[in-house]
Symmetry: C2
Subunit: 363 residues, 2 copies
Amino acid sequence: MNVGILGGGQLGRMLALAGYPLGMRFRFLEPSPNPPVAGLGEIVAGSYDDVQAARRFAAGLDVVTYEFENVPVATAEALAGEVEVYPPTAALEMAQDRLVEKRGFRDLDIPTAAFRAVDSEADLTAALGDLGLPAVLKTRRFGYDGKGQFVLRDEADQEAAWSALGGRPLLLEAWVPFRRELAILGVRCGSGEARFYPLAETHHGQGILERAFAPALDVEASVQRQAESYAGRVMERLGYVGVLAVELFDTEQGLMANEMAPRVHNSGHWTQDGAPHCQFENHMRAVCGLPLGSTTVTEHAAMVNLLGEVPPVAEILALPGTHLHLYGKSPRPGRKLGHVNVGGEDPAAVRRTVERITALLHA
Amino acid sequence: MNVGILGGGQLGRMLALAGYPLGMRFRFLEPSPNPPVAGLGEIVAGSYDDVQAARRFAAGLDVVTYEFENVPVATAEALAGEVEVYPPTAALEMAQDRLVEKRGFRDLDIPTAAFRAVDSEADLTAALGDLGLPAVLKTRRFGYDGKGQFVLRDEADQEAAWSALGGRPLLLEAWVPFRRELAILGVRCGSGEARFYPLAETHHGQGILERAFAPALDVEASVQRQAESYAGRVMERLGYVGVLAVELFDTEQGLMANEMAPRVHNSGHWTQDGAPHCQFENHMRAVCGLPLGSTTVTEHAAMVNLLGEVPPVAEILALPGTHLHLYGKSPRPGRKLGHVNVGGEDPAAVRRTVERITALLHA
């Protein structure tokens, strides 16, 4: 099959690496020079909002998917008239706007933080009155990795928050006192069958994912089922095909949805070496109409992002149970350059190896 | 690292797929159009005996390896003057000539079938007198997948054997009454450290590998050690760097070496899904001077070659524990188009799945 991917970053790279063994060939639409997918297929240089470039890109393809959720809906819809596009564009619409997303969760009886739309400073004052402090002001669109967010801790923060983000469509969310953050990763195929990986525990620093551990420890079966039910409802409502990630807060009142990503997700990179079939293969199987692979996990896994720098490769590879995944990107502070997966039977040993990788990162 | 691979077939394809996550980039020297590596790196079109093309190919590379053992030694040596070439060219010299190979095994006290050099019909008569029947007449060079071999069962076969193969340098080998065929796969890095995968049991049909099962059942620890010792001796003698496969006969007198391949090998494809780090990754680690990955295996694995045809992909993927690896080749009778790996805890269940794949192949 000839597969097109909107985006040529590391997720596109790993989708292609997982798809080649299934006999797929890849073409990418990507505006930047020398992207992570360089060498892994044909690259059509073009901006994502250039519908003409997108049509050239799509000519002769069997299916199109995307590797980031800020693909313009207009582009995806133009392509969907000519070729199968999965996940469906409705998923883009929901994921691109945090207000639409939160309302979508609520419509499906999925708990979220309390939230208010904020379009003016008066709205913000009113919303703070409703929700109290602390609270998080967020742009409705184009936020990722902690960008476009401002945490308000006391009343004096209101002015700084408004001056940082005001003038764009916003929403205010009540602060959720969570015990930890979890992520559920599901994959659904056209027939409606869905499978889920075990919940991963995610650790962020300044809004960027730093580590994930899977299966998350001390998760009751009912909590896993609850998470699957939430992700499953979203997928069913959207007629979803592909991998979907839902980031969750684990709170005293139970799970609460934070955000979703209609694509393969950093919280699921551990599946490359910790599951029989990884998220990248399962996404490609789903969008190409093939049977889903297994998501059953028998060992413990962890993932450490390599942010801003890559420690000496030989030192990483010499650690027990490690698997390296580099993205072919040049270093820049905070940039995701790769990740290390760690696997083993003993979660404590896995965690020790994670600490040693972290020490290499900060050496 | 910029890696060059002499050859652009499926082994080059799988080396590249394993090397990209380690941050490697690939260039291939390959004479045929649209090879299996198409899309996976830069392809320099050229014949392997065209030293000028080989030099163009090697410009700017950090290391060169090869994916088949019939690379002309002259080409490899010309390149070795300009860039690191692993495995060493001495391994090519040994593997390209079955007589040199057999003598090499004997020099290292590795048992082989009795053999005689055959350069004339008189030599053949004398060799048959020495070794008796049945016996196998083989070309010394360019044999693979059972090509260049003639099994003599009675005296009347001598004329047919000579007319099929005579005129080239040959050797006659005594027939080895083996219980089964095994293969040992080792990897050695520049420091001299070597690791070995568990022995695989290989099943051939008309000289072509059809299936492999690993770890081979009913193998005593002493037999595994013996196999490792044989492969280890070859690697040490050659100053070997990379993956080496040695095909063995399991006989009542113990293991006997049949052939070696100084490269990743079809008998080790199961490691892609049945070992923590596969032969392709370990080969790339070794030739790039990185620490070796783990070869410790905890489950049972099998590999089924897809020869001449690819059954419906969806039916293969729906079987339990299967992993598909296609090579992007067009079908032709007997051609290796891909393979299916099967994994699981229960060797009987793995074998049942192998039977179901075989049934799909012959449906």
